[in-house]
């Protein structure tokens, strides 16, 4: 067992009267891909925002590499090695794809030549090679999702938080993206991924955490979690367990719940 890279301790976030995240805890081990699933409005994006420094928790703590980073602003967490993508993509619309990625690359490279070279390499690695010179504002949905991924990756993170990078993609685009994510992990980056596409969750994740109404209701290997009755009740609804089990046996099947 490897050491925990990220430890989320009883994080709570209240927006006025609404408790979006309620004492949620999770641990992500270095070198793994962890999944965070849950129905719409469960608080997944809010939890990501607290891990990445975009929202201040009402209570609780975030530890990264053993260090308490709860008080660090977002840009310093990125510098510490936590990179995130946005569920609602946020491209620098007026810039080219290469320039978009270069902003991430500049984090650990002061020189323009090195930053642009790194941007090119990362862009190619996620399949944006042919589009590097295009304005980001003119990209398709699939292209923008890849761009989100590439920019975050260009900061050389230790932990990558992916918020629904597969949402809005068609089945063949999803099949193209899964190996890309797997290669990122093989490159030594730990990944925490929020995803509704069950096929991806089942085939990618070493461990899955389930959030429902702000609470963490289950954690464990994907198959065990999929069979957990609490999960079926809270998240999947009746009859969905069978579909999950089926897609786990046959990861190529285009099943997105």
């Amino acid at each position: 067992m490897t050491a925990p890279l990220l430890v989320v301790e009883d994080l709570t976030k209240r927006f006025g009267g609404l408790t979006a995240v309620d004492r949620a805890a999770l641990t992500v081990r270095a070198g793994t891909i962890a999944g965070l699933i849950g129905p719409n409005g469960a608080g997944k994006t809010t939890l990501f925002a607290m891990i990445s420094g975009f929202e201040t928790p009402t209570s609780g703590a975030v530890r990264f590499e053993g260090r308490d980073v709860t008080a660090l602003p977002a840009h310093q967490r990125t510098a510490a090695g936590i990179a995130r993508t946005f569920q609602i993509v946020q491209p620098f619309a007026g810039l080219s794809v290469r320039e978009n990625i270069a902003v991430g690359a500049y984090l650990r490279r002061a020189g323009r030549t090195e930053a642009l070279a790194h941007a090119d390499a990362v862009g190619r690695a996620v399949g944006l090679g042919p589009q590097l010179d295009r304005p980001a504002g003119e990209m398709t949905v699939a292209g923008r999702k890849r761009l989100e991924l590439a920019r975050a990756l260009a900061t050389d993170p230790k932990l990558l938080l992916l918020d629904e990078v597969l949402a809005g993609l068609n089945p063949s685009e999803i099949r193209d993206m899964i190996p890309v994510i797997r290669r990122i992990r093989e490159g030594g980056v730990t990944i925490l991924i929020v995803e509704h596409v069950m096929q991806a969750v089942m085939s990618l994740c070493d461990e899955v955490h389930v959030l429902a109404q702000g609470r963490m209701i289950a954690s464990g290997p994907p198959l065990a979690v999929a069979r957990d009755p609490a999960v079926m009740e809270a998240y999947l609804g009746h009859g969905a367990a069978a579909r999950i089990a089926a897609s786990a046996r046959n990861p190529g099947a285009p099943d997105h719940a």
């Binding site: 310093q76 620098f92 007026g94 080219s96 500049y106 323009r112 975050a152």
Partner: protein, 331 residues
């Protein structure tokens, strides 16, 4: 701008430098000197507004600080103008940093930031108009002493070339900035501040650096203006006219481009001057405020038909591939 921006800068500066050798008219030389001073103020504005997307309506605060510093350091402290100039720039930059610190730390953006800068400039104007130290309403007169050592020249062309040297410096500074990490971060936060933060950009620090630099350049324009006219009052130094010119020139010429402010300033002031002359002839006398009407019309035209300014329009007309905004391009 790409690395090849150096050649266009060199050509532009040479053409502008040769101008007074061919045309000897005093009116033209005066106009060009004034236009370049406005261009310099606009170049300062463009660093913050064009590249950083933070639209200031109050660059008069920096222009006026540069102008008053230049005048007061000479009149009240007996400093040589060549020494006063860098101090004036530093003071302008300090005012920029202070306003930026207050506004950006409070997370003011868009219209709120614009209004706060406008308010600061107006406060400075009112203070300068009331304070005896700055000459109050009577204004400040810098004694005439036509010596190069005193930054006053018998030959008016020398002062024009001095102003041009500052404009050239600002062109080079802008081109370098556009190719630097700082420039990339500044453009990134203009395009999307959250995304920039997520990529490790300390947006407050980058904005503060940008407004400090921007204010320093615009303060240099103020200092040159003071030395050109040797007279200042609050309405000139801290008046809204320069805030408007500094903002209109880059919008008309091309926001966030190296040459936008220079081209915009020449176009705006040139057309303003021409229309003054034409209508003056037509009506047999000066028509006050006609240049402002021309500015207004140009602004409307620019926003409606050339959102990327004159430079963007040229680009489209000669059908070059669209250069990336914010100046980055493939090496």
């Amino acid at each position: 701008m790409t690395g090849s921006a150096r050649l266009p800068i060199l050509i532009a500066v040479i053409v502008l430098a040769l101008l007074p050798l061919g045309a000897t008219s005093n009116t033209l030389l005066n106009f060009m000197t004034f236009a370049l001073i406005v261009a310099l103020a606009a170049q300062g504005w463009n660093l913050l507004g064009g590249y950083g997307g933070q639209f200031s309506f109050g660059h008069a605060a920096f222009f006026g600080t540069g102008a008053y510093a230049m005048g007061l350091l000479q009149v009240r402290f007996g400093l040589n103008p060549w020494a006063a100039m860098p101090v004036a720039m530093l003071l302008g930059a300090a005012v920029g940093w202070a306003i930026g610190f207050l506004a950006f730390r409070a997370r003011l953006r868009g219209a709120y930031f614009a209004l706060v800068t406008l308010a600061f400039a107006e406060v400075f104007r009112i203070l300068a108009n009331a304070w005896a130290f700055t000459g109050a309403a009577a204004g400040l007169l810098v004694p005439l002493k036509l010596q190069a050592a005193n930054m006053q020249f018998e030959d008016k062309r020398l002062f024009y070339w001095l102003v041009l040297a500052f404009v050239a410096g600002a062109l080079v500074l802008t081109a370098e900035l556009a190719r630097s990490r700082f420039g990339a971060r500044l453009v990134a936060l203009r395009e999307n501040e959250d995304a920039a933060r997520a990529l490790g950009v300390d947006t407050l620090r980058v904005k503060l650096a940008a407004i400090t630099l921007s204010a320093g350049v615009t303060a240099a324009a103020g200092g040159l203006y003071a030395q050109k006219s040797l007279y200042l009052d609050a309405a000139i130094a801290y008046g809204p006219w320069i805030s408007v010119d500094a903002l209109l020139a880059p919008i008309v010429g091309g926001l966030g481009t190296v040459f936008g402010p220079l081209i915009g300033a020449l176009a705006l002031l040139g057309l303003g001057e021409l229309s003054k002359m034409a209508l003056g002839n037509l009506f047999g006398g000066a028509v006050p405020g006609i240049d402002l009407i021309v500015f207004g019309i140009l602004l409307i035209l620019a926003v409606a038909f050339a959102p990327r300014g004159l430079l963007g329009l040229f680009d489209r007309l000669i059908r070059r591939p669209r250069p990336a905004e914010g100046g980055e391009a493939t090496p």
